[in-house]
């Protein structure tokens, strides 16, 4: 299982685009939390699937201009 953390502007349109990409990934979205912070949304996902598919998702999310920051890592990081 992998963790993907994203920062977007506080806009449901931006969030909608993140979800639109994620729903096309060949991974299982085990968990997703959206936290609101000042002018930003922090999106935290737990995904399960083949490494290449997780990388596909991260790369596609990173193509969105609204994704201001994206990190991917092991799941043992507490969020």
């Amino acid at each position: 299982m992998r963790r993907i953390s994203i920062s977007t502007p506080k806009s449901l349109d931006a969030l909608g685009r993140v979800i639109a990409i994620t729903r096309r990934a060949k991974v299982q979205l085990v968990d997703m939390v959206v936290a609101s912070e000042d002018s930003m949304y922090r999106v935290h996902m737990k995904v399960e699937g083949p490494h290449d598919e997780v990388q596909w998702l991260v790369a596609k999310l990173d193509k969105l201009p609204e994704v201001l920051r994206i990190d991917e890592g092991d799941i043992d990081i507490n969020y």
Binding site: P9, S11, D13, G16, R17, A20, I21, R24, S39, D52, Q55, W56, A59, K60, D62, K63, P65, E66, V67, L68
Partner: protein
């Protein structure tokens, strides 16, 4: 409950500058010379702001026409044009073109009107959630909610459409926002567009790629549409000459290389050329540049994936879009960067001059020769027009710099195989999405971008009928294009699949003889011909292109003979291409 439907419809007054007036000014600072589209209630203010401005408004007959024209324009001009449509149906009619532009990495900026913000979500007249609809098929979409965002949103949309890998963008502009007084400040749109600026290519990876290439016995260069956008044609040709590497292209990449370059084999794939399929399938090192590894080019990926995984084939993939590296096939070396810059540096790393594998190159040339001979024999024995031979006649008629646009269908696949492109960027087609109806409007857009160039639209009757209403613009705006309709009265490519894959159960693919295309031409005040010989075809088209006159050519093709070969059936590997009768060659190379 009564809703205020969105403020006044007030036109521009001298004292007040509206948001739309400021937008029109911004268009000019970004070099926008044309706005294509159709006005309607929710976009009227923007059109009103263009009144008397030094921006040409081009009125289409359907929004799909406007957006395909924007694609044709961008591919010729190398920069985006603005498409403006009203809310609801106007916006929804742009969807196919946006998806098409997204698949083929074409920059354009769409601006859609929207109902006023106070009736959002109330199912107002012509309200539709266009940002929600186009989210997966745009590089950037933004709904303006505050007047001070409007010009910033347009600037972001324009810049993002051209930065890095090009693509379509859309700004949704509510009616009340358009009419608001323009603030004297601009609100920042929170985005990261710098991420689209390609990084410098990794020198260590380039060094490794160069090593693989000089050690190759049967190298091949696969070029995609990214080579055109990057302007990397000279580097591709230089690499090919240095490495004695044949060049193969994707369908969009077909326009990247002059076809009279001796080592160009043509496009590979479902309806690619046999020698191109062979060059890809038998290569030991593949340098793929600006391509997304479409199933349409490869048939299936298993053979390539296995060969790369085992080390039998070294795959070098250069692309400006990081997300394309390893998406379908994990390369041996993946290089993110601009194609021109990466290839220039790659050339610098080639410190050894390899020897040409003459035997292998000769084998590829022999496949080409055998195909041409087989097709000539088939075409000569066909009593009516044969598409392959008709394209030869059209090519003779068209000057070398003719911009050729196609529709989608069997005629398009014939052009993939048999249409020679001489100048980079002069072949425009809907490759990724395969959008029927693309040809006429995209050709109009191409002509708008380059009035001094001849523009030839090679269309099919099915494709033509989907957007032929836009022919009105030929006279309205003096856009003299030549349209050659390969008229087989069928959705021929689907019919071909029915014949071969569905045991000839022909259903819903054969048209009646209606309409009469000559009468359609007459209705739009365009000359038309129905040639009976190849000579008549060639002379009519040559004359029209030479004199910059519009012409519609109704070329009768017998559907029964219109079987496009070679054909790699869906899901098959390249070497199992079905070849035309009389072409008895294997596409697997034997060293001894």
């Amino acid at each position: 409950m009564l809703f205020n439907v969105g403020g006044s419809f007030g036109a521009h007054t001298r004292d007040s500058k509206r948001v739309v007036d400021k937008l029109a000014e911004t268009f000019k600072t970004y070099g926008v010379k044309h706005v294509l589209g159709i006005p309607g209630g929710s976009i009227m203010s923007l059109y009103d702001a263009l009144y008397g401005q030094d921006i040409d408004v081009v009125l289409f007959r359907h929004e799909q026409g406007a957006i395909h024209a924007a694609e044709g324009y961008a591919r010729v001009a190398g920069r985006p044009v603005v498409v403006a449509a009203t809310s609801g149906p106007g916006a929804a009619n742009l969807v196919t073109g946006l998806a098409d532009a997204y698949m083929d990495s074409t920059p354009l900026v769409a601006i859609t009107g929207q109902v006023a913000t106070n009736i959002f979500g109330r199912d107002g007249f012509q309200e539709t959630d266009i940002p929600g609809i186009v989210t997966p098929i745009t590089k950037f979409v933004y709904q303006v909610r505050r007047p001070a965002e409007a010009t910033a949103a347009f600037k972001a949309a324009y810049e993002i459409s051209v930065l890095g890998r090009p693509g379509p963008t859309l700004i949704d502009l509510p009616r009340d926002i358009q009419l608001n007084a323009a603030p004297d400040y601009e609100e920042r749109i929170q985005i990261n567009k710098e991420k689209f600026i390609p990084p410098p290519p990794d020198p260590e990876k380039l060094r490794l790629a160069a090593k693989h290439l000089v050690e190759a016995n049967r190298p091949v260069i696969l070029v995609g549409g990214g080579v055109i956008w990057s302007g990397a044609t000279p580097e591709v040709l230089e690499l090919s000459k240095t490495l004695y590497a044949p060049i193969v292209s994707t369908l969009p990449g077909k326009a990247a290389v002059p076809h009279d370059f001796p080592l160009y084999m043509g496009p590979a794939g479902m309806h690619g050329r046999a020698e191109a399929d062979a060059a890809l399938a038998n290569a030991d090192v593949i340098l793929a540049v600006g391509t997304r590894f479409s199933d349409r080019t490869w048939g299936r990926f298993k053979e390539l994936q296995d060969a790369v995984r085992s080390g039998r084939v070294k795959l070098i993939h250069v692309d400006i879009d990081q997300s394309e590296i390893g998406k379908n096939v994990k390369p041996t070396v993946g290089i993110v960067g601009d194609a021109k810059e990466a290839l220039r540096k790659l050339i610098d790393f080639l410190d050894v001059v390899p020897k040409a594998n003459q035997k292998y190159l000769g084998w590829l040339q022999e496949i080409r020769k055998r195909y041409e001979e087989a097709m000539a024999k088939i075409a000569d024995s066909t009593p009516s027009f044969h598409p392959w031979k008709a394209l030869k006649a059209l090519r003779r008629a068209a000057p070398r710099d003719t911009i050729t646009v196609t529709g989608v269908g069997s005629h398009q696949m014939w052009t993939e195989i048999a249409w020679d492109v001489y100048e980079p960027g002069t072949y425009i087609t809907s490759a990724g999405l395969g959008t029927m109806g693309f040809c006429v409007p995209a050709a109009l857009g191409a002509k708008l971008a380059a009035r001094d160039k001849p523009v030839l639209c090679i269309d099919g009757d099915g494709s033509f009928q989907m957007t032929m209403n836009n022919l009105a613009l030929v006279r309205d705006y003096d856009l003299p294009i030549v349209v050659a309709i390969f008229d087989n009265r069928a959705l021929q490519l689907v019919k071909q699949w029915q014949i071969y894959l569905y045991q000839r159960r022909i259903i819903a693919t054969e048209f009646s003889q209606r309409p009469d295309f000559l009468k359609i031409a007459e209705a739009y005040d365009i000359d038309a011909v129905k040639p009976e010989t190849y000579e008549q075809l060639e002379s009519a088209v040559a004359r029209a292109l030479r004199n910059n006159e519009p012409l519609i050519v109704d070329l009768t093709i017998n559907s029964e003979i219109d079987i496009v070969l070679p054909w790699v059936k869906p899901g098959d590997w390249l070497t199992s291409a079905v070849l035309p009768e009389g072409m008895d060659v294997k596409l697997v190379y034997e060293e001894n």
